[in-house]
Amino acid sequence: MTQSHRASSRFNVSLEQRAWSIRRKALLMGEVQGQGYIGQALGIADVLAAAYFHALDYRADDPKWEGRDRFLLSVGHYAIALYAALMEAGILPEEELATYGMDDSRLPMSGMASYTPGMEITGGSLGQGLGIAIGMALGLRRKRSKAFVYNLMSDGELGEGSTWEAAMVAAHHRLGNLICLVDFNNQQADGKSTQMLSAEPVEAKWRAFGWHCQRVDGNDLDAVVGAFDTARAVAEPVPRVIIFDTRMCKGVPFLERREIAHFVRVEADEWVKALSALEEGRPA
């Protein structure tokens, strides 16, 4: 049986278990390289679990299926997290996690469309995903498709002017098929986002730009699922954004307590420790 069949037949797996498995796979990839954006991956795992196992419509064995909801990874450096979700969803074979970041791997450290099935765009030059999502949403509307376009972006990307150009355009064109997901982990490269360039009050900004906006705890699965449901059900044809407040390194307590940085240092011997710490929190 193929990986995709296996994954899609496991309907009795809870979202909590999905999120846990995404975290575990991300840690296994981090261990391969001895590095990776693991803090971000652990933080966003609940959102990805809700996306891939509750909200999105896709076919694991046909990642280019025309009717799929599009999921754009604007934050290319979060690739380690999306690879884990794509493996959990059966779109990528789990065995490949051992190639993460290696020469000739399909899983480069920054997400790129030409390398990886299920990776819709080449992200990494930050502030580009939302604009591309607008074009796809316009295109899908022209094609009378029911599909949604999701764009996962970061709080750091709120600094880019292109984000706010896109925010205006999406509202102007009444893109009700566009759902923007913002990971508000209060971190960017040089330090805490709120101290580098504060985007607050962030909900008021999106609302003023004409968006339906929600802000929830991105590590509370019920709240995350509820926000996805609400976003999809908004009656008015306006673009929707969900701000997820997330905690970097979530699920591995000793890393959560560490001084958090954009690139969380994990020593060579700590990957195994992190995996066993995660194991302790394994959902029943």
């Binding site: 390289q33 190639t99 450290m109 502030g127 750091g156």
Partner: protein, 347 residues
């Protein structure tokens, strides 16, 4: 990228036999340059800027969320009141630097080379270059100095910026160049774009030529040789020097002319050296062969009627792969071994 190579990349991969990446096979953003045998200095740009700023009140520093990654954090920590964090907003970084310059300050603005060259280009062109304002744009990850993939590989920044009037362009080779370039560009009254090597940066030039000193606008012979003249810039001067040492063991004499200032180009020195008859002339740059040093030198030679045998070493006209930096430098012909091999094959 062609459709064929896209399809190839999408085929499943087997796990490598030696998983457990303690080796260098990583497409990480921050990778160290292989510079075997050279001593290194930490953050030469940051320290030189602090030293200069102690003497010159007008100096201010700005970054777009990359202070830690462009060595500007050294300045930010030493002079917090003169440092401006703009957030990840490269366009306003450049506009604001222009505004500070208008008010008489001497801004040093840092980001990665890709984001200056690609995202912020129009802001640099109109707010800074057209007005000939003294803004110094200092950018890490020039050319192929990260294995992270095209989003961070500034393989065409020189081509982009060479077309911009008024702009001086510097591609330093090592920590010596970087430390000495800081006061030199501050003394220059106009906009400057500098490529930056950051973190632990090797000391190369004074090893090969103890009395070497950086001079803005000047190309300098670092070593002489009778068979080949390599005209090199930036990181590739180091590669050329290392290759020259190797080739000397086989009795091949390789001269290396270091051209840290790409624009304005030191045409006189290039013509003088390239005109010495009989030598194969090779350009070497950490940049696409389109629109960089190689084409600038070729134009210089042809228009002056100097026509030696001529070859170019540089990156191909393509979006490059992600991977470990040493692998990529070998793959694209800019490692020391590949430089030496190419020169040998051309003789």
């Amino acid at each position: 990228m062609t459709e064929a190579s896209r399809a190839r990349k999408h085929e499943p991969r087997k796990a490598p036999v030696t998983a457990g990446g303690k080796g260098p096979t990583t497409s990480a953003m921050i990778a160290s340059l292989t510079a075997e045998g050279y001593e290194t200095i930490h953050a030469p740009f940051g320290h030189a800027l602090v030293e200069l700023a102690r003497r010159d009140e007008r100096i201010v520093g700005l970054t777009a969320d990359l202070g830690k990654y462009t060595d500007l954090h050294v300045f930010a920590e030493a002079m917090p009141g003169r440092f401006y964090q703009m957030g990840m907003a490269e366009a306003v970084l450049m506009s604001a630097a222009a505004g500070l310059a208008r008010e008489g300050f001497m801004p040093f603005a840092t980001t990665y080379a890709v984001f200056a060259a690609r995202r912020a280009y129009d802001f640099i062109a109109m707010a800074i270059a057209e007005e000939n304002l003294p803004v110094r744009i200092v950018c890490a990850l020039p050319g192929l100095t990260t294995g992270y993939g095209p989003s961070h590989q500034a393989t065409e920044d020189l081509a982009i910026f060479r077309g911009l009037p008024n702009l001086t362009i510097v591609d330093p080779c090592d920590a010596v160049d970087i430390a000495q370039m800081v006061p030199a560009i501050a003394a220059h009254d106009g906009p400057v774009y500098c490529r930056l090597l950051r973190g632990r940066v090797p000391v190369v030039l004074t090893r090969h030529k103890p009395d070497y000193r950086f001079e803005l606008g000047r190309a300098q012979m670092i070593r002489d040789g009778r068979d080949v003249l390599v005209i090199a810039t930036g990181l590739m001067t180091m590669r050329a020097l290392d290759a020259a040492v190797k080739l000397a063991q086989d009795g091949i004499g390789v001269a290396v002319l270091h051209v840290p200032t790409i624009k304005p180009l030191d045409r006189a020195t290039i013509l003088e050296e390239a005109g010495k008859c009989g030598r194969l002339v090779v350009t070497a740059e950490n940049h696409t062969v389109v629109g960089g040093l190689g084409e600038a030198v070729a134009t210089t030679l042809l228009t002056a009627g100097v026509t030696p045998a001529f070859r170019m070493i540089g990156l191909p006209d393509a979006f490059l792969e992600a991977g470990a930096l040493p692998t990529l430098h070998d793959m694209y012909g800019i490692s020391t071994d590949r430089v030496a091999a190419q020169i040998r094959a051309w003789l």
